[in-house]
Amino acid sequence: MIEVLTSLLILTGVFFSVVGTLGIIRMPDVYNRIHAMSKASTLGVVSILFASSLHFLTHTSAFSMKELAILVFMYLSNPVGAHAIIRAAYLVGVPLSERTVGDQLQHEKSAHHE
């Protein structure tokens, strides 16, 4: 029963990771790419780490905190890293896709260049 649950969690995590990478290939500009990648791969890796925690909880005698530590760290650090990169890209002036409808951060870019 636990094995089925672990397998389902692993497959869910791999599915979301692969979807995130598909977004990296298919999306038109870097903002869409990181939007697709960071959230999907965060959910994927958190799911896989949860599966690992469940597996080692039942298969080894000792309960290890390592997976939970990595899980909390990934859950906090992955969005922060994505935000840092995408903010730097916007301020440096990476062009938006031509299908973009609006740009509400424009004043900040002009303030940065002064």
Binding site: I10, L11, T21, I34, F56, K66, V80
Partner: protein, 93 residues
């Protein structure tokens, strides 16, 4: 059954590392390459965890922890480099 699932997961993650490598080589801007590197690091972390489940030893998880910390630091360093041109900014001194 868990062995089969882990093998499938490792194969799919390998394929998506190859796909992210395509974006790493082709990507038109530095930000695209940084995103691809971030994705590759996350997939390597997931592969290490799945491999630890497959081999039934929790010892590999130390490597996963190191990869997680390195991935975050590398991403922040690239972002800082893109914005300022240097990683360690001494202009405020």
């Amino acid at each position: 059954m868990i062995l089969w699932v882990c093998n499938v997961a490792l194969a799919l993650q390998f394929v998506s590392i190859l796909a992210a490598t395509y974006r790493l080589l082709v990507g038109p801007t530095v930000a695209d390459r940084a995103v691809a590197l971030d994705a590759i690091m996350v997939h390597i972390l997931a592969m290490i965890v799945v491999f630890a489940i497959r081999e039934n030893t929790p010892d590999y998880l130390d490597a996963a922890m190191v990869i997680a910390i390195l991935s975050f630091l590398a991403t922040v360093a690239i972002a800082k480099f893109m914005k300022r041109g240097v990683v360690i900014d001494r202009s405020a001194d």
